[in-house]
């Protein structure tokens, strides 16, 4: 297949209760920046295409254009009001392969096959949809990306190139931070050019971590076109029914607390006692308790009660948990992996307690108290009580 058969970046827009999820505009922003550079570098004119599924969503198309979309493919249908994986997967996959739709996008004819790149949100909606859509499109997918670049890559690879050097032009380099937060893995989705297993793999796709990329400044004068799409829905797929949807508030309430105290792997010397210390500090500060991602994997043995109260995904601050912005954030025994920082960087004032002043959290805090939490927290509690007594007197 020639390179010209794959064009544009398709961004799958996410909604909740008819409203745009923030990640939708963040993805459009990154797609805009990426394609502006791309078009300059390759002297081409490929487009940012938003793919919008839902019901009564036509009024959102302008917002998408203002935020960087050149085209919005809009599938507005009562059966698309809620996300159902099978129906959504098929409609997105249809859109991605639809020649008539592509023909309405400038510079697509005559031989468009599939999009060049495709973006999804790395959350409850996009994570699953990206997986199933890409199986249907028979291509590859990288998850939880926080950096993207396009470059021409020369590669010698036993499987991909049969051991010979090959140049892969316009390749999307997809950077994903690993679970530790210290390593960046670059994933590429590449055609097999090895003659014995030759296969095209497009679109090159990824799911993008919410909260990482900035939307562009909306421009109400931006020009864009809306392409209405009538989805083909198989009646058999309608047997999957959404019976009810209930909004719940988590028992963990970061929003109404002015302070949050979080702990990480630094509790390891005496996990149970240290969690209790953190609990006490939080009590004195009137704070909610958060944790870093590794804690939610229950790496330490503590009482059932402490474990089920604190070592849970609901309390995770960071890219795979909550993003918070309290007045005061206290990071106890947290090294400051980038996933964690993404969740707390908007805090007003940050205090870190850590014995190691080389840990990355030092660059993310306003006060760094060097010391072991076992020593520091009791002193802080004592002093907090003393100062509040004076204030009340």
């Amino acid at each position: 297949m020639t390179d010209g058969s794959y064009k544009h970046v398709y961004v799958v827009i996410e909604l909740e209760s008819g409203k745009l999820a923030p990640v939708s505009l963040e993805m459009l922003g990154e797609a805009r920046r990426l394609m502006d550079n791309f078009n300059k570098k390759y002297k081409s004119d490929e487009k940012v295409v938003a793919v919008l599924l839902g019901h009564n969503v036509k009024q959102l198309t302008k917002t998408l254009i203002d935020h960087g979309a050149d085209y919005v493919i809009c599938a507005d249908h009562p059966e698309l009001e809620q996300v159902r994986n099978t129906i959504y997967t098929k409609v997105i996959s249809q859109i991605a392969q639809d020649q008539d739709v592509a023909a309405k996008i400038a510079n697509s004819t005559p031989k468009f096959i599939k999009p060049r790149y495709m973006f999804f949100g790395a959350d409850t909606i996009g994570r699953h949809l990206s997986s199933t859509v890409l199986v249907d499109l028979e291509s590859g997918l990288a998850s939880d990306i926080n950096k993207l670049e396009v470059s021409d890559i020369t590669l010698t690879h036993q499987n991909k190139t049969g051991g010979k050097p090959e140049v892969y032009e316009k390749t999307l380099e997809m950077y994903r931070p690993d679970f530790s937060g210290f390593l960046w893995t670059t994933i590429l989705c590449l055609d097999n050019r090895n003659p014995t297993i030759k296969r095209d793999y497009h679109p090159q796709s990824c799911s993008i971590i919410p909260g990482v990329f900035e939307p562009i400044k909306p421009d109400p004068k931006r020009k864009g076109e809306v392409i209405q799409y009538t989805p083909k829905i198989d009646p058999k797929d309608l047997k999957v029914k959404i019976l009810s949807r209930k909004t719940i508030k988590s028992e963990v309430d970061f929003d109404s607390h002015k302070a949050v105290v979080s702990f990480g792997r630094g509790i390891k010397d005496s996990p149970e006692q240290n969690i209790k210390l953190v609990e006490n500090l939080a009590k004195v500060l009137g704070a909610e308790v958060g944790v870093s991602l590794p804690i939610s994997k229950k790496p330490f043995v503590v009482s059932q009660n402490l474990s089920s109260t604190y070592m849970i995904p609901d309390r995770v601050i960071g890219t795979s948990g909550r993003k918070i912005s309290p007045m005061l954030y206290v990071a106890v025994g947290i090294s400051g992996a980038i996933q964690h920082v993404a969740g707390m960087k908007d805090s007003e004032f940050v205090v870190a307690i850590n014995p190691d002043d080389n840990s990355p959290i030092k660059d993310e805090c306003d006060i760094f108290i060097k010391g072991r939490m076992e020593d520091v927290i009791p002193k802080l509690i004592e002093e907090l009580k003393a100062q509040s007594t004076i204030a009340q007197a």
Binding site: V135, D144, L183, T185, K241, T247, P299, A352, F368, V376
Partner: protein
């Protein structure tokens, strides 16, 4: 009416203290770290066991991995009292991305006892963390995919299932969604899933199957079937490296970013420093900022 269940699981690094080992630069030391049944896989097995207790289901557990992964199968059997354990193991499978892994798992599930009505998988692996293998396997099987499931009930007569899903989205409150679907389905179990056994008969069945699970897993080898690529009958160009669209191009240390804040470094052993820290913290809490 029988119910046939599959659970797909993964052998993963054991992140518990004492078993996990980190390199000085903070990255995982894979050579020194022990392996275990992944925590999300364990939750998938727990969800399957609920069907054993409630519906007297037949359970098969499958995994793709090296021979040592049979340890994870044994651990899963201990949880869900499976009648059948499948290990898909071949050097040809090595280096598979999620798409190529899903191809092996799909083929394996089709070889399990009976026609599988429900497949359970974990939410995501603790080491890979992509969360893609489950939905991709579901799509290849042609099963309805239901993710983030926290509760389920099967209607054996109508061959339908009702599940509750936890939908979390940044910028919105969590939503519990109740979905009904005809069997077969593929369920990725949410980390917060818990089985509840309310009636006396359920609790008695629970005890009975727990005992059986212990005996079976002590003798897990007699339930174990190992398949290589040929025995499984997979197309070798769809598995392992040849079947993987994606490659890991490079791994690098994440460069240290520009410091976002200039920290004042205080010494915990200096009481004046502690006083200063607390004063600042109180100031932050007292400040009136409209959010």
């Amino acid at each position: 009416m029988t119910l046939n269940i599959a659970v797909i699981i993964k052998l993963e690094p054991d992140f518990s203290e004492g078993n996990v080992s980190y390199n000085p630069d903070g990255t995982l030391n894979r050579a020194e770290t022990k392996n275990t049944l992944g925590p999300h896989s364990a939750i998938a097995a727990t969800a399957a066991f609920y069907s054993k207790v409630r519906y007297d289901a037949k359970i098969s557990v499958g995994t793709m991995g090296p021979p040592v992964a049979e340890m994870a199968l044994q651990m899963a059997q201990r949880i869900c009292d499976a009648e059948e354990l499948h290990l898909y193991s071949d050097r040809l499978f090595a280096g598979a991305d999620t798409l190529a892994t899903a191809e092996v798992l799909k083929t394996g599930i089709k070889k399990m006892q009976g026609n599988i009505d429900i497949v359970f998988s974990g939410h995501r692996a603790s080491d890979g963390e992509t969360g893609q293998t489950g939905p991709q396997t579901a799509w290849k099987l042609g099963y309805t995919f239901l993710g983030n499931v926290i509760d389920y009930n099967v209607n054996l007569k109508n061959r339908t299932i009702r599940v509750k899903r936890l939908v979390t989205l940044q910028g919105f409150n969590d939503v519990i969604e109740e979905v009904e679907a005809p069997l077969p389905v593929f369920i990725a179990v949410d980390p917060s899933y818990k089985s509840l056994f309310n009636t006396v008969s359920q609790r008695l069945a629970y005890e009975k199957y727990q005992k059986e699970a212990k005996i079976r897993s002590d003798n897990y080898k007699q339930y174990l079937k190992v398949f290589n690529a040929q025995q499984l009958g997979v197309n070798p160009t769809l598995v392992g490296l040849p079947g993987s669209p994606t490659i890991v191009y490079k791994v690098e240390r994440i460069p240290k970013g520009k410091a976002n804040r200039q920290a004042v470094v205080l010494d915990a052993s200096n009481s004046e420093h502690i006083r200063k820290a607390v004063a600042k913290m109180r100031e932050a809490l007292a400040s009136m900022v409209i959010k």
